[in-house]
Symmetry: C3
Subunit: 316 residues, 3 copies
């Protein structure tokens, strides 16, 4: 998409040299044929380091954009980004692509749907009602139980098991809001990568990234009815028990355990081997490895036990 | 159904003039060809204002029924209503109706199922495994991802996106219980209406109304694994984050935000622009607009922060 | 499977008389052609009473195994059991079995899938996208809404209603973990039995037992997005409200009510007629019938109310 067309969609006057923009990305990850944006003052410091060809900014941020990078100045950069996200969204299914490829020994139910461009490895079992989207890739020996949905562009590794009615790659919960309180969808143009030897329970939901990848690393075990928000990363051999959830962009180290109904807020980094008791509520990053937590607000589990005994004394 | 037949099903002697009863409804909403019931003494005051042709009551309430309205006197009105709800339940699918109508430009997967009597608007995308029930209506430009289920009689507006494995219109959780602790299903003969420009995540469940409509207003954003009980109303541009839930008959004003895992009890009214932090538990109606809450029991967010610091002091 | 082959898989020297082992089971339930294991010292006392033909134990437990029972001595019995569980897992679908049998009067959507060996009773409604696995049995008059998945070997009784996108019989969340923090799946070779007159909401997940049966008794009502772990038992006429959950092996008596988002830890026994308010967290067994609880930590509801008023005083 031409940068001049992008400017036109945003209603911005365009005088710079025109170039082709391939996609949108964050300031940090944008390459020189990508567009980025600044919607929060805490990211202004990232502008100078960005390789983006152009950046959507507001009036008070425009001077931070260096020479050689085009500043597209708008009133509400986040809203403008949302408008553009739709322009960069790929087709839901692309029927111009070749038929799905199926590896040797794989059993595909005739009631499963493989979109064009999908690739299925060897010795997989893809059961009735399963859906594999455009350009999605499934590794070898993987089992998808009935009605599992893998959205386009997502990747599932070897030796994975995904149980019935689970969704991998639905859109992250992203939207801009204007002064009138109206919402504009931010199309989620990233994907999900599930590495090898991962088992995911039934009716679990793993959202695709807005940009980049939501990543579930090797050996992780995810139970039923678990929510994984967009752009999360789950470290190797982590465990998420039923009805637990991660808000967007939170990163778990390896062997982290989220107990039943436990949850973490977004944009956190959780150290390896952390264990969260059932219904823990994690709202801050955790740097020290290997501790056990409970409660909401969160505290060390032993502190929580002590606190509960103190609270019980209030009854006397 | 004849009122005399209804009386016969309930084992009630019937001497009044017989009439045709079209359906059941609440006291407030019943019209003159409908049957109603009183199962809770707090609704006795509504009897005098009801237009119902007949009302199921118990012995101690029967005298509140005015002349011109037939009192059907039973031991357990709620149980009797449950028995009758089955009589008024429509067929799950009605194959005597015409084939589904499909608007111009819509793409319907050959693995989707459109029940007879369904109507699909223009330029929709209905993906594999999606199910649209009898008499359900889908507006223009709406996308239903794989395995979305829209039960009969439900209406989804224009420009909506519903993600994989989500259910709109399953039965509300309604049953009567007798003295032996046994339950009798109350058939949920209402529907769900999702207005325009609503996005709903994956594996979310929105129950149909027992009578009338569960209503999701324009511009609302609902995340994954969210529960919306029967007869709820969600105001324009509201936001329900993952794993949050509303019990039956609760009404949210516009731009209400339910944080992750937050929940509200049933039969509440929540003022516009209220925000509930993650895991809030709302048990009372809220009249003042625009405040932010947290905790369970619920309190203003700033109070909750203060309380947590006071609680932490118990450890000293 | 020959016991000598099992020993070989585990890398254990085998000198005993060889026999055919039919399956694995717990110490208590194993019959004389079954293999069992001890992975936790609290079960050592069950060894003497077990009828198992052979028991997987570690070095320090081996002497508890009586004469006539073969001790297979390994470093990590739970890990070894996990390895063997895969050997005993049946095929996901067994196409050597006869076509599914369908009772008189049942309507089966041509978009539903009935695996070989399945048996459907009379007057059932099996809607589009529903899946009934190998050897699964559905009773009479039962309705499975679209995209319901019943895994192999599971049994659903008469007069049941299961709403859309619900899963019955997905694998329980079971795995062994080694010193490196790696997980090994424990194949869940039990099943789920849902007795008569049970209604289950949409996007609910009920896991199959690792051994034996996850049991939902007659008349129970389960709402949407509920989690029932492997080997749970839910007593007659119990009620599980939306987003509630039971961890594995917990047993509810009859007429137990789990409020919205309430949850119970695993391996508990809950007395009949217990009621748990919304978001209760149950971590201990309950012996007395008929009380009402709230909170986490759990306490009687009236105590919880008193405690909340005491806590509120901390603000003064």
């Amino acid at each position: 998409m031409k940068l001049s067309d992008i400017a036109s969609i945003l209603g911005v006057e365009f005088k710079a040299k025109d170039i082709e923009i391939k996609s949108m990305n964050t300031l940090k990850d944008a390459s020189k044929d990508e567009l980025s944006f600044v919607s929060n003052s805490k990211y202004v410091k990232d502008i100078a380091l960005s390789n983006a060809a152009a950046i959507i900014v507001d009036e008070k941020t425009k001077d931070a954009v260096p020479n050689g990078c085009v500043a597209l100045v708008v009133e509400n950069p986040y809203w403008s980004m949302a408008i553009l996200s739709k322009q960069f969204a790929p087709l839901i299914e692309d029927n111009t692509l070749a038929d799905a490829k199926i590896g040797e020994g794989s059993k595909i139910s005739d009631k499963a749907e493989l979109a064009n461009g999908a690739i299925i490895g060897k010795n997989c079992t893809i059961m009735a009602g399963a859906y594999i989207g455009t350009n999605a890739v499934i590794g070898d020996n993987t089992v998808l139980y009935p009605n599992v949905v893998i959205y386009r562009d997502c990747i599932v590794g070897d030796d994975c098991i995904i149980h019935a009615n689970t969704t991998v790659g639905s859109d992250g919960f992203g939207f801009a809001t204007n002064k009138l309180g109206q919402h504009k969808k931010i199309y989620q143009n990233g994907n999900v990568v599930v590495e090898d030897d991962v088992e995911i329970g039934s009716s679990t939901t793993i959202d695709r990234a807005v940009f980049g990848t939501t990543l579930i690393k090797t050996g992780t075990r995810i139970d039923n009815l678990v929510q994984v928000g967009h752009n999360c990363e789950i470290g190797e051999y982590s465990v998420m028990v039923s009805q637990s959830g991660l808000a967007g962009s939170t990163k778990l180290g390896r062997n982290v355990v989220m107990g039943g109904q436990a949850a973490a807020a977004g944009h956190l980094e959780i150290a390896a081997f952390s264990t969260f008791a059932a219904r823990s509520g994690v709202t801050k990053s955790i740097k020290e490895n290997g501790l056990t937590y409970a409660g909401f607000p969160l505290m060390e589990h032993r502190t929580w036990l002590k606190l509960q005994s103190r609270i019980a004394k209030l009854l006397k």
